[in-house]
């Protein structure tokens, strides 16, 4: 594997080295066999500090926008749901809302509430997954195990409601495909209470546990002004104090009828992100409980004809990682003329690159995981030291161990 992958990688390296001949260049990614998607970063080092980061994404670009132009409106909904394996529902929700605005039909109220329930359950599962990964990269395996066990509760609930664990396929244009099962109300409220309690407990852990504090405090700092200029979205905007949340700013589905407040932090470091996401878990659990208890009666779906009237509409939703944006243009046919989809990681990438500047290699896994990326290319990091002409490769596991040892040594 090393031999086959090293040839093209070397060519890329030499292209980058011409620009930065005096400093050290570290190619980061793109091959990762286990986690999420592959992405590639060229890290330019000065000693151990990162001075510049050059992104190269698109390794898993499947041309969904082009494919959407050849498929019927309804099929596209389930295709866009496959954009992501973690926040799948919100993609179909956002696309569906953009299309619904072009039609004359109204989404039934019950469907709107069911959409909120699924979207918030998805947020809880995504945030829990992230908190677990943070524990893993910091060398705190117990947290990882605990959090991922709690995540199973959510996945089981989602499976019971929609029939699927990951790709819920709940949405339809103008409604949802399945009604909520009977007699689930009490069970969901009970489970949400449990999740909120666990979130409070984890919050207490990360505030007192020395391992987490050392790895997260004062790391990944950025100012509110820079984050705003770089158009950061979601938790990446809220952890520096920007009140940026589509659920509150531009309410969709039933969010305008549900009382809730968003969480913001001021500190702007990785620890603030941990606190923020754990607080958001509690908020999301409360929203689910409220929505389940106030679920209105009525139909869940309106049948619509396959032809969507001509027009343009944009829609945005708050995915677990931030604002997600869909733009739809119809010329009055059975297929869309253009569908544009923008994911939160794309919006947060400039901010992430800015945060990485000035960090050490030991902090790269923490900082890159902290932005909750849809890329997890921690494996196969190749290092090239131009001064000593030494070239070595680390797997993600070795990199993680390096980070843990680095902090262990510093402590002594």
């Amino acid at each position: 594997m090393t031999e086959t992958s090293s040839t093209p990688m070397r060519r890329e390296e030499s292209a980058g080295l011409m620009e930065y001949s005096v400093e050290n260049l570290v190619p980061f990614g793109p091959i990762h066999p286990a986690l999420k998607e592959p992405e590639y970063f060229k890290l330019v080092l000065e000693g151990e500090k990162i001075v510049q980061v050059i992104p190269r994404i698109g390794y898993v670009h499947r041309g969904l926008e082009k494919a959407a132009e050849m498929r019927p409106w309804v099929q596209n909904m389930y295709m866009f749901e496959r954009t992501c394996g973690i926040c799948s529902f919100v993609h179909s929700l956002c696309y569906g809302q953009a299309v619904e605005e072009l039609t004359i039909y109204q989404v039934p109220k019950r469907a709107k509430y069911i959409r909120v329930i699924i979207a918030e359950l998805e947020r809880i599962h995504s945030h829990l997954l992230w908190v677990g990964l943070m524990g893993h990269w910091a060398g705190f395996e117990t947290l990882f195990m605990w959090v991922w066990r709690d995540r199973e509760i959510i996945l089981d609930l989602v499976e019971e409601i929609s029939g699927n664990r990951v790709h819920k396929s709940m949405n339809a244009i103008c409604g949802v495909r399945r009604d909520m099962p009977d007699n689930m109300e009490n069970r969901i409220v009970e489970k949400m209470k449990f999740i909120a309690d666990r979130a409070r407990y984890y919050r207490q852990i990360i505030d007192t546990e020395q391992t987490m504090l050392e790895r997260t405090e004062k790391i990944g700092k950025i100012s509110a002004d820079t984050a705003e200029k770089l158009c950061a979205v979601g938790p990446m905007a809220r952890y520096v104090g920007l009140r940026h949340d589509v659920r509150l700013n531009d309410p969709y589905a039933a969010y305008d009828e549900i009382p809730f407040d968003i969480v913001t932090r001021k500190e702007g470091d990785v620890h603030a992100l941990l606190r923020l996401r754990l607080d958001e878990l509690i908020v999301a659990a409360n929203i689910v409980s409220y929505a389940v208890q106030h679920l209105p009666a009525g139909p869940v779906r309106v049948k619509i004809p396959p032809i969507i009237p001509a027009g343009e509409h944009a829609s945005h939703c708050e995915a677990p990682r931030g604002e997600i944006y869909y733009f739809v243009r119809s010329t009055g046919g059975r297929t869309p003329d253009r569908v544009k989809s923008r994911q939160p990681t794309m919006a947060n990438l400039p901010t992430a690159l800015e945060i990485l500047k000035g960090q050490t290699i030991a902090d790269v896994p923490m900082v890159l995981t902290a932005i909750d990326p849809c890329f997890g290319c921690m494996d196969r990091m190749a290092f090239l030291d131009t001064e000593t002409n030494r070239h070595w490769t680390w797997s993600g596991e070795e990199l993680r161990q390096y980070g843990i040892n680095y902090y262990r040594k510093r402590k002594k």
Partner: protein, 160 residues
């Protein structure tokens, strides 16, 4: 709030020699030509504090390529639309005003072949493979067919 904001937007739009169109409640569209685009956007950002650019959409509209800048500010959504001719797809970059636009402009460049003058990363590829043949039309144009692209990329890979 909304009334005053509407009037302020209208003033900016008239200043750039165009009109403000209200699509829906809280949703506005401004059609502007390339000459006035930078002035309009810098006024939006600096004077009206509309600082969040959600994304940039590129559209194939037959003769022209449409570029839409999607802004959001509190409850209002503002779309700024501009056209560039397909024969000479050159646009002006807004990275100076909004640094976060850099990747969105690269994406439009990759997918529709629009060159943004002033974007420092315009010579890099973001989404397309490095082996993308230069003579192939950009993939999101209506004239380029996925089957042809696939065939061509396969040929390139085999010849290596």
């Amino acid at each position: 709030m909304s009334e005053i904001f509407f009037q302020q937007l209208e003033t900016i739009a008239t200043g750039a020699g165009t009109k403000l169109v209200q699509l829906r409640k809280q949703e506005f569209m401004i059609d502007v030509d390339q000459k006035n685009l930078k002035k309009l956007i810098s006024q939006l950002v600096n004077e009206r504090n509309v600082r969040h650019l959600s994304t940039i959409t590129g559209l194939d509209l037959g003769q022209n390529i449409g570029i839409i800048y999607h802004f959001s500010f509190e409850r209002e959504n503002i779309h700024v639309k501009t056209l560039v001719p397909k024969s000479n797809p050159a646009a002006i970059s807004i990275v100076e005003i909004i640094p976060g636009a850099i990747l969105y402009e690269m994406e439009v460049h990759d997918m529709l072949g629009v060159t943004f003058s002033g974007n420092p990363w315009m010579d890099r590829k973001l989404l397309l493979p490095d082996s993308w043949p230069l003579d192939l039309p950009p993939p999101l144009l209506k004239t380029s067919k996925p089957s042809e692209i696939r065939k061509r990329l396969q040929l390139e890979a085999e010849s290596k």
